[in-house]
């Protein structure tokens, strides 16, 4: 009898006797459901935020900021420096021959979260003539664009749900008065929770003499190295040059690490608990079926087939539990819009996360089924048959 067939037969037998061990077996199912439910719920949040940070900007988008700045507001580039950067060769040109580049300024405006009144800062960014070219997904969805040179703002489509007074028609208090929000835009990314106003007018209002950064688009995707060399070799500049994507990675690295430690720390602790539960259940399953197993062995079924069948049973139960956990997390959180401070993101239960959950389930089953399987396979047949 070949091994595969043996495994198949013994496993089928196992599963047929599952109803007799229903409650015991549910320990594994419930255990894994809790582990995976908790893990994916937490991940839907942290990974949703993570991908929101990294989705901002297209691959040719380059970000230039003062050397060593850890966040955008730390950057300080004078008008002259910004001019030099934007005149550097290698930048894509607009139809009129001007470089697709513009200096950026960012300011946090104190406000409150709409849901609980917690203090928060809404990000207000300057947008110049090239702004729309540098924000590929940008389009107006309500009202109109702000007029350059005027005290007007446009708000991201999600801002009004997240913050108080951030919808079209509301006013934002800036140092030189109240700026009305005249339109709403959507970009499909993190910017959807922010505000935009005319860069130069905004600089005057908040009395900034320097920009924070320069954002630009390269003519060629591979042009970054040469462009960086050109800026780095200029003694008048002391800047970091990277893709917008890399900047976002750098900016969120600490936060990501923090999230991963918390999420996987809790997940691993719970999984170890479930693992012990799995051990327990499989040991008693093997003990309960010891005569049945001994009979099979006496009939000529191999120890290996018996062992594998135990692991397979653990695997099936564990996967069933994981599936419940996935279903819970997915139905409750997938696609839900949430925010972290001023950053708005969509919670996601991605296929990769589901794959990882199933992998965890299999790992717990293999680890938790292995020792009981060995015991089942190695128990002397005679002794097991005689046992009462």
């Amino acid at each position: 009898m070949n091994t595969i067939r043996q495994i198949w037969i013994v496993t089928a037998l196992n599963f047929r006797s599952l109803p007799q061990r229903l409650w015991q077996s549910l320990v594994i199912v419930v255990g894994m459901a809790c582990v995976i439910g908790v893990l994916l719920s937490m991940l839907s949040m942290t990974e949703g935020l993570h991908s929101a940070y990294l989705n901002t900007g297209d691959p040719r988008a380059i970000f230039v900021i003062s050397a060593g700045a850890q966040w955008e507001a730390q950057g300080s580039l004078s008008r002259d420096m910004a001019r030099v950067i934007m005149d550097t060769p290698g930048i894509a040109k607009a139809a009129d021959g001007s470089a697709i580049a513009e200096p950026g300024v960012e300011v946090g405006v104190p406000t409150e979260l709409a849901k609980n009144g917690a203090m928060a800062w809404i990000v207000l960014r300057g947008m110049g003539p090239k702004g729309r070219m540098l924000l590929p997904g940008f389009h107006l969805v309500e009202g109109r664009m702000f007029r350059p040179g005027s005290h007007e703002l446009i708000a991201g489509i999600r801002a009004k749900d997240r913050f108080t007074d951030a919808g079209v028609g509301d006013k934002v208090i800036l140092p030189d008065g109240a700026w009305p929000i005249v339109g709403a835009y959507a970009t499909g990314d993190l910017r959807d929770g922010e505000l935009f106003g005319d860069t130069e007018t905004l600089m005057l209002s908040i009395r900034h003499k320097t920009y924070n950064s320069v954002t630009l688009r390269l003519a060629q995707p591979g042009g970054l190295a040469a462009f960086r060399r050109a800026l780095k070799s200029n003694p008048a500049l002391n800047v970091d040059v990277m893709t917008l994507h890399d900047w976002n990675v750098k900016r969120s690295a600490d936060f990501d690490r923090f999230c991963r430690i918390v999420v996987y720390g809790v997940g691993v602790l719970l999984a170890i608990g479930a693992l012990f539960g799995c051990f327990n259940t499989m040991y008693s399953a093997v003990a309960a079926r010891r005569r049945e197993i001994a009979t099979l062995r006496a009939l000529g079924y191999g120890g290996f087939a018996v062992g594998v069948s135990v692991v397979l049973e653990a695997g099936a139960l564990s996967l069933a539990g994981a599936a419940i956990g996935v279903a819970f997390a997915w139905s409750r959180y997938d696609g839900v819009i949430d925010g972290f401070g001023g950053d708005i993101f969509r919670m996601t239960v991605s296929p990769a996360m589901i794959g990882m959950a199933l992998f965890w389930a299999v790992a717990v089953a293999i680890l938790g089924g292995f020792l009981p399987a060995i015991r089942a396979a190695r128990r002397p047949v005679i002794q097991a048959l005689r046992a009462t």
């Binding site: 850890q70 300080s76 923090f258 430690i261 720390g265 925010g339």
Partner: protein, 388 residues
């Protein structure tokens, strides 16, 4: 406690099962301790935050600071009694990833922050040795410093008058941490910082801290101050410590209390299923024994007590071990967190221990409930005739 030997015998009948159950319960309570401990920390911070202490920061450009004259005008505001101010040195140690943050203040800080453990004597040391710093224990451990060591910080954002970006300090004192600063703190001499900066950057402060004579009027004073500076070159954003550290302000406005409790509950639910099964199984195996006990005249209360005790021992022991592990992890959690990203250290307060104890008892009662009911309904004759 005359049943104890009987219960002990029941537990040790299947030592592997007892140990596995214990370990699974331990894991669930580790998660419980960490989660509820985190929640307790956040509640503790909110409670410890003072309603009379308040601070003003620049409303729009945080990193640019406020002119020191603003601090003087705040000091003259009726109702403000003690005042201090600080500026920050943001930077890194050795590697750009090792973020560090120094608060440069002066001796008045000790009066505004008497609950922080940097004493007036320590501030005196810093006053006399201008390059000296006071480190909290957490920071001292993170950077492996003891009194007398030097700490060199690179701050690309804060250049000295001569253009250098490196700042070297001498550790003069190490003090205890406070709940309000989950990431620890480092205090240095404001005057030293100020005089080291280029002339154009001198005379500015990042934050003005002060105490209201009457806590009830703190919010009103905040409004008066913000209104006074609203149309000036340096608008302020003023908030009381109580409001700033409110529970709702934690983790970007996420509902941390709900999250932590849900995770702790999921862990307990997972374990409840396991312990309930183990007890049910154990009782089922010993049906004949229980029949004998009843035949010998053991009444309902005795039998119930035995089953509950059998459930309670692993639950209580596991809860104890789990809480100990949680306390240990809580103590070392900061070492693996990214520097500069302060996860509040979970504090296992008496209330958290109480919660764990209560949960352990609930777990034991819930696990014992069904088996007890079965025993109550047991027909002695059937039970005695039943073989294992």
């Amino acid at each position: 406690m005359k049943f104890l030997p009987l219960v002990w015998a029941a537990l040790t009948r299947k030592p592997a099962r007892a140990v596995l159950t214990l370990l699974a319960v331990t894991m669930a309570f580790t998660v419980f301790g960490l989660m509820i401990g985190l929640s307790a920390t956040i509640d503790g911070v909110a409670e410890q935050a003072r309603g009379d202490r308040m601070f003003s920061v620049p409303r729009f450009s945080y990193d640019d600071g406020l002119p020191i004259a603003v601090a003087r005008r705040i000091a003259d505001t009726p109702g403000v009694k003690l005042i201090a101010f600080q500026s920050y040195i943001p930077g890194y140690v050795q590697n750009e990833k090792n973020h560090i943050y120094l608060s440069m203040g002066h001796a008045d800080m000790a009066r505004v922050f008497p609950d922080w453990h940097a004493t007036p004597t320590m501030w005196d040391l810093v006053e006399h040795e201008r390059t000296g710093i006071i480190m909290s224990r957490l920071q001292a451990e993170r950077w492996h410093k003891k009194v007398g060591d030097t700490l060199t910080v690179i701050s690309p954002q804060l250049k000295r008058a001569d253009g250098a970006t490196s700042w070297t300090f001498k550790v003069l004192a190490i003090c205890d941490d406070v709940l309000l600063a989950p990431d620890g703190f480092i205090f240095g001499n404001y005057d030293y910082l100020d005089k080291s900066l280029p002339l154009a950057k001198q005379g500015r402060v990042n934050e003005v801290d002060y105490v209201a004579a009457d806590p009830a009027r703190a919010d009103a004073i905040a409004q008066v101050i913000d209104r006074a500076f609203a149309n000036s070159a340096s608008p302020t954003q003023t908030i009381t410590e109580k409001r700033a550290y409110a529970v709702s302000n934690n983790f970007g406005g996420m509902d941390v209390d709900v999250l932590t409790h849900e995770i702790a509950l999921a862990g307990l639910a997972m374990i409840l299923f396991l312990t309930a099964n183990v007890i049910a199984q154990s009782v089922r195996e010993r049906f004949a024994e229980f029949g004998t006990l009843r035949a010998l005249g053991f009444g309902d209360p005795s039998v119930i007590a035995m089953v509950v005790l059998e459930a309670a021992i692993p639950c209580l022991a596991g809860a104890g071990l789990g809480m100990a592990l949680a306390a240990f992890l809580a103590h070392h959690i900061q070492a693996i967190m990214p520097p500069g990203f302060g996860l509040p250290r979970p504090t296992i307060t008496a209330a958290v221990y109480g919660g764990a104890l209560g949960s352990a008892f609930l777990l034991a009662f819930a696990s014992a409930a069904l088996p007890t009911v079965r025993l109550m309904r047991m027909d002695i004759a059937t039970a005695l005739s039943e073989r294992e």
